[in-house]
Symmetry: C2
Subunit: 430 residues, 2 copies
């Protein structure tokens, strides 16, 4: 084993700086744990002059991350630049080509190029660590790749995006609109200036595609994740859900079904009593179902300097201890193409909110459509009569097929009395 | 890397048989994950003839586990015999001496001899895996040894014994006595015929001492765990706790304090809203506080065939993948002697139930004792007056020192009006 592990870090934002801080402040502890001196030797970022609150003068500086990957005196390349292509991809490939191990927090990169990079790492005998890419404060990659290795995994689901969870928690607490809470979250730094990836569910989908690959031994397939964001969730939906015994959470769910793998990201109604319903604010949680272990639940902070840097460092300690582990749990060449179970085959219960003109016959029209589609109703709420005006009707259905609900939805849209796009939210009765 | 990993299993109870089942039924999956054929070559148990529901005829049989450890054609010795000494200790030492890696579910053994065995493993370049020894369904050993390696750990606490948690959950649900629920649990196989280790807190203390060693980099020190069991908890205590907004759980808590390490196992009042309060039945949960990660929570089944065998197999996959990791997170020689923070220095709030004669001046006597000790009262419940007879008085205190509460307790015992041993339960306001 080496006595020193030399680290080159590309990207000196919050996580990069956090990683440098831990490596400096916990030097002795990490040496005791890993058996070697884990030392930063080179760094790269866009602007050299910027004050980042850490002393960087002892490290070689590179303006270009790819150049650093090719030339730095390093054993490990840490990629914290971000983005699914461009310099992140170029530099990670260059590092692996050179036989360096790579640690990355970049879910977008791995969601797009995970299999290719895993193959490259394997060919070069390098370790590709990405604990920081999914729920930083939760060692979920390690738990699935190693801790639950004795299990056939049937389902993985979780709250994987802290921004969305913060927004939904806050909307429920204050009754404010999505837009108002988003603005607040942006002001506090909990949401990006361009929040599309977070609130649109893309970030959750990136992470889910990695967990699915790891859990099911399949090629990462981000394109086959069904993705819906939380932008259309209203304070009204949250209040109705609460009244009906549910909370609304943005979940990523990957399930092994008879037809293939179902990967979906969308807002869900989860029962108030379900542990996942109690996961609030910026916290993440992941639930894994395995044949031997039953259900295992992990909860912690999903993002932020400390948790994400902690995850980066855990990968570095692994590498220092000599780990060269299969990126997605099995040899990259053995990963099977993901056989998709299309969303139309999904079965579940649904929350439906229709905005309708309060006039005679409307309720009959709605219930007849559902009856004709074969959807059975669990409960209906309609109140606050306002003859001739638009009122909400909220319906919870029993379990039915997604394709059936889509047909019903089409018919609702065709009704003159339905004045707005129907709101449909899936229910997960965990 | 080897193409075959040969496994010798000592002990063919539930977990041993469960392990054989997983290795047989998931052979291809484990091969894909570990890169080699994980194959049982030898087994040992007390009675060869017994039908265990698995085919064992293909494996070499040993009547004596130590002989198997010395002589079997094996790379890994799996110890599932149990007991802190005797054949378990002898066989594990023999296996390590021979340079075999060892996997064990035996917390009693490691609590008593963990440091010695870790040193031996290290000297021989062997891996000593014990994921199955603590909360089988939760990969907590791996998470602490590796996943949180970038953190200085401040506190670890959890529900580590499924039997106790089942009993307490059931007592609360039914209002039955400890004795009645214990009998039921024994009938269902949730509690051993001799339940002392479980209900007396010893089993939890074994596990806590291992987590403390791992978290704090100290020598395992089971003798310095303060241990109280759940035998004295009454249905009345549970009902009062509930009324006051708490549930009673048996927790193991290890904390780094300015004075040293505090290790304690005892029933606790935990607030109804705390996530750990919602962990019911045979489930376990572990909460770890680290400087970088903040709080990480893990929940899953603690015992039983599947979860424990899953943990054994995860250790085998680690070994198959080439892991030789430091048993307690750092080199055995670097573990520091555990500097104890004695229980008298503990500070916390307390639940106190006094059985007193309902007569004039009693409440004054009680509150004067607390006042003179400097203990401030958060709330008092006394109801159901029965002049001249014995009635319960329940008091919640504010934060105070354990030593102070012990002095107060002495004085309560000296009061003629106090008719039974006072009940004192610590409160954890997580």
């Amino acid at each position: 084993m080496k006595s020193t592990l030399k680290i080159a870090i590309a990207g000196l934002g919050t996580v990069g700086v956090g990683t440098v801080k831990i490596l400096e402040s916990s030097r002795e502890l990490l040496k005791a744990r890993s058996g070697c001196d884990v030392t930063v030797t080179a760094v790269s970022a866009r602007s050299k002059g910027k004050d980042r609150g850490v002393e960087l003068s002892g490290y070689a500086w590179f303006d270009d991350a790819a150049e650093m990957a090719r030339e730095a005196d390093a054993d490990v390349f840490v990629e914290l630049v971000g983005g699914s292509d461009g310099i992140a991809l170029e530099s990670v490939k260059a590092a692996l080509e050179r036989g360096l191990s790579v640690v990355t927090a970049n879910k977008a990169l791995l969601a797009a190029h995970g299999v290719e990079l895993a193959r490259l790492a394997e060919a070069k005998g390098a370790h590709l660590g990405y604990e920081a890419a999914v729920a930083g404060g939760i060692p979920i990659i390690k738990s699935m790749r190693e801790g639950l290795a004795g299990n056939q995994i049937d389902r993985i689901y979780g709250i994987l995006n802290g921004t969305c969870n913060y927004i939904l928690t806050k909307m429920e607490a204050t009754g404010e609109t999505f837009g108002a809470v988003l603005e607040e979250a942006q002001a506090k730094g909990y949401a990006e200036a361009d929040p599309t990836f977070d609130v649109g569910g893309i970030d959750t989908a990136h992470k889910l595609s990695l967990l699915a690959a790891l859990g099911f031994g399949v090629e990462v397939n981000f394109d086959e994740v069904t993705v819906e964001g939380i932008e259309t969730i209203t304070a009204e939906d949250i209040a109705y859900a609460r009244e009906l015994g549910y909370r609304i959470k943005l979940l990523g769910v990957a399930t092994r079904t008879a037809l293939g793998i179902e990967q979906r990201v969308h807002p869900c109604l989860v029962p108030l009593g379900a542990p996942i319903a109690a996961v609030d604010d910026v916290f993440n949680a992941v639930v894994v179902n395995g044949d031997a272990v039953g259900q295992a639940t992990f909860e912690g902070r999903g993002a932020g300097e400390g948790p994400t840097a902690s995850a980066v460092v855990s990968d570095l300690v692994d590498i220092a201890r000599g780990a060269v582990l299969p990126t997605f749990g099995i040899a990259a060449s053995a990963l099977e193409p993901l056989k998709v179970s299309a969303m139309e085959h999904h079965e579940g219960a649904y929350y439906l909110r229709l905005q309708v003109i309060d006039q005679p016959g409307v309720m009959a029209a709605i219930t007849v459509i559902l009856a004709e589609c074969g959807v059975s109703i669990d409960s209906i709420i309609q109140r606050g009569r306002a003859p001739g005006e638009s009122v909400p009707v909220v319906i919870l259905t029993h379990e039915t097929k997604e394709s059936v609900m889509m047909t019903a939805l089409e018919q609702f849209r065709d009704q003159d009395a339905v004045t707005a796009e129907p709101q449909l939210i899936r229910i997960e009765n965990f």
